[in-house]
């Protein structure tokens, strides 16, 4: 009886686990161990070099760490600008206001578009030399002509512009998740607080924020994971790595694969990248658990 029941349970997870094992675990192991080899991706022979690739990444590859810094910068902007905006929007939509459904619908449209579409359209809108140059035109009209810039071609602003466009594309996800979280907070708590004489700000601080912490952490982790992996947006917005200023880890990995024909090294970079992401996610998770009453 027990055995039959157990077997039945396993059937539930069997398809998922099978597909997972075949299409994730196996490629993962292959890529993982490939980081220990020097291979050009073409020949049928590989040279075992042990940890040399990793040594090179950590000690010598300045371009790699620059790309990590760039991705980190974009992620930082995403964590702050994007998520604060998403939270504010979710909070605004949580209240009893009209046109709630309309807003909910609209805000999720940017994430639905592919990175390529977003990059191409924004490139068209922002670019001053061969685009419509809308932002600069608007600034001039409003009287801020000294703020007009080559947003995408000026090295100082290129990365930030990419980060802002990424926020535009990404805030819809945070919005959705925050909204779902806000809606699970029972209204009675707010009622009780109001009866006790608390104003909205105090209610927000004492009720909303503590209850939303797990959701905030979830969104933070998802933001970091998603943003660090950005690359198609960069290719369509600025065309390339722009002397390293808009370089990101995934682009560096593709470079190693194709241009320098060092597939083993690319895999080592990929493994390093994955490890970094896991450590960051873990730290975020731990950090949240610290404050939570158990």
């Amino acid at each position: 009886m027990k055995l039959k029941e157990n077997l039945e349970n396993y059937v539930f997870v069997l398809p998922a686990v099978t597909i997972f094992f075949v299409f994730y675990i196996i490629p993962f192991i292959w890529v993982f161990q490939l980081g220990l080899f020097e291979w050009d991706g073409i020949s049928f022979t590989k040279v075992f070099v042990g940890l040399q690739n990793f040594k090179e990444i950590f000690l010598q590859d300045k371009n790699w760490w620059q790309s990590v810094r760039n991705a980190g910068y974009i992620t930082l902007i995403a964590l702050t600008l994007q998520n604060i905006l998403a939270f504010m929007l979710a909070w605004a939509c949580d209240r009893q206001i009209r046109m709630k459904n309309f807003y909910r619908m609209i805000f999720f449209i940017p994430p639905v578009l592919s990175e390529v579409v977003v990059g191409m359209v924004w490139r068209f809108i922002i670019n001053d030399i061969e685009g419509a140059n809308v932002i600069n035109r608007a600034l001039v009209q409003l009287g801020f002509s000294n703020l007009a810039h080559n947003w995408l071609s000026d090295l100082k602003t290129a990365l930030t512009t990419v980060a802002v466009v990424h926020c535009w594309k990404g805030f819809g996800w945070g919005f959705l998740i925050f909204l779902a979280g806000l809606q699970t907070i029972p209204r009675e708590l707010y009622e009780a607080a109001r009866i006790d004489g608390a104003n909205s700000w105090q209610a927000f601080k004492k009720i909303t924020v503590p209850l939303m912490v797990p959701v905030i952490v979830l969104v933070a982790i998802l933001t970091v994971l998603g943003t660090m992996q950005v690359f198609a947006l960069i290719t369509s917005l600025v065309g390339g790595e722009f002397a390293g200023h808009t370089s990101v880890p995934v682009l560096r990995i593709f470079y190693s694969m194709l241009r320098s024909s060092r597939f083993g090294y690319a895999c080592a970079q990929g493994v390093t990248f994955g490890m970094m992401l896991i450590i960051i996610s873990f730290i975020q998770y731990r950090f949240s658990k610290k404050d939570q009453p158990r």
């Binding site: 050009d40 991706g41 030399i129 065309g239 390339g240 002397a243 241009r259 024909s261």
Partner: protein, 432 residues
């Protein structure tokens, strides 16, 4: 209940899709994977023609962009699933690696047949890119392993109308760098853009830098540097880097040059917003499509020194290789022979405004294209030098120049950085 029928339907769909059995091919066919978006239509025409002539079906399949194409080829090579004919978008050492892995058919026997009839129909420089010479540093036995389907040169072009506007003689393009730089302030004053080029794609920077390197120090010293005998901190190399600094300071370069993709640069030149462009001969076709009334001419990059000749990159534009494991090798080779025959080359040249690889295809080509063709005398190409620079050094080199152009680093700094990476690579004792 309804849902169950839907599930059943999905299963049926799955199985139907999954059962893509092997198609039984009765007559021989040749499958060619290519990346040339502008030539797909012309290729399809030729394929149809070939089929009516010989009954052999030729499938041209376009996969773009070229980076994705290169990935696809490499993956296919790993799985030994390469098509009958394909191209390798990579460096000579990648080419060598493919040959060593037995992916590429040695075409030398076909070339040498009939007193080297096929071989001699090509411009020698076009073939050189696909050839491995005796005693090359890649360890490949000498021979021809690829077929050029067109040739190209990469030079500068200038807008004749804008020249007149600026008060310059439209028939006298600048011949020296000083003349060139002096035009910078005029362009700025007129509110135009100067030189446009796809320098977001770093290889174009590499190309121009190498042109100046050959001009300043001569071919031998450049090759010696690659071999590691001379450092990049040598004064001649600093001169090369300084050329870019001078260009940037004089205002002759367009705004945002370092983020431009080549297509954007082509658009700017075609729309007469830019006075100069650094582009390859394929641009003739592009400009014609964007602005048929454009008046422009080709010129060599204005030289710095007259001790050595100015050199440009030229040679085979696109080349095809034959899969050594293909079941249709002979048919593939036969098709390539037909494709590079003078009539087909003339057709391709006319239809796509690219220079023919066959030297007998003296079809009526536009004057601008002829100017590009004349540049072949000055042409060279990294794939014929016999040595390759380390890719990390090339990357640092190109990125360094990008930094100079945006005013971030000085020539001296870049030279030191590049040499540092070169020393590191040499220390690893990797001999290419």
């Amino acid at each position: 209940m309804f849902f169950r029928y839907v599930l059943l339907g999905i299963f049926v769909l799955f199985s139907a899709l999954g059962c893509s059995g092997q198609k039984v091919v009765s007559k021989p066919s040749v499958t060619i994977w290519h990346w040339m978006t502008d030539r797909d239509a012309a290729f399809q025409e030729l394929a149809k023609k070939y089929e009516t002539l010989t009954g052999v079906k030729v499938n041209f399949e376009l996969y773009a962009p070229s980076d994705a194409y290169a990935q696809k080829i490499r993956a296919a090579a790993q799985g030994t699933n390469l098509p009958d004919v394909f191209g390798i978008l990579g460096e000579k050492r990648d080419f060598a690696a493919f040959i060593k892995a037995d992916h590429i058919l040695d075409l030398t026997p076909y070339m040498e047949v009939n007193n080297a009839a096929w071989k001699n129909s090509f411009f020698p420089k076009a073939l050189a890119v696909n050839e491995f010479t005796v005693g090359n540093s890649y360890g490949i036995s000498s021979g021809v392993y690829g077929v050029p389907v067109d040739i190209l040169t990469i030079q500068m072009v200038y807008n004749k109308k804008l020249f007149s506007q600026l008060g310059l003689d439209p028939n006298q393009p600048p011949k020296t760098l000083d003349e060139f730089l002096q035009i910078g302030p005029k362009i700025q004053a007129a509110g135009l853009q100067g030189l446009v080029s796809g320098w977001g794609e770093v290889w174009m920077i590499d190309c121009l830098a190498n042109d100046y390197a050959f001009n300043i120090m001569g071919k031998d010293k450049v090759l010696a540097t690659i071999k590691g005998e001379i450092a990049y901190t040598d004064p001649d190399w600093i001169k090369v880097f300084t050329v870019f600094k001078q260009m940037q300071e004089s205002g002759i370069l367009a705004k945002g040059l370092v983020t431009m993709i080549n297509k954007s640069a082509e658009q700017l030149f075609a729309n007469e917003k830019a006075v100069f462009a650094f582009n390859g001969s394929w641009c003739v076709n592009v400009y014609q499509g964007m602005n048929p009334s454009l008046e422009y001419a080709a010129m060599l990059p204005p030289q710095v020194s007259d001790k050595y000749p100015m050199s440009i990159w030229g040679g085979a534009g696109s080349s095809f290789m034959v899969n050594a494991r293909s079941k249709n090798k002979d048919e593939a080779v036969k098709f390539l022979i037909w494709l590079t025959d003078q009539d087909q080359q003339a057709y391709l040249s006319k239809a796509t405004n690219n220079l023919p690889a066959n030297k007998n295809s003296l079809a009526k080509i536009p004057e601008v294209l002829a100017q590009f063709a004349r540049g072949m005398d000055y042409a060279t190409h990294p794939n014929v030098w016999g040595v390759s620079e380390f890719s990390t050094v090339i990357e640092a080199f190109d990125r360094g120049i990008q930094s100079i152009v945006i005013g971030e680093k000085t020539p001296g700094e870049v030279a030191a950085e590049v040499q540092e990476i070169k020393d590191r690579e040499l220390a690893k004792k990797r001999v290419k």
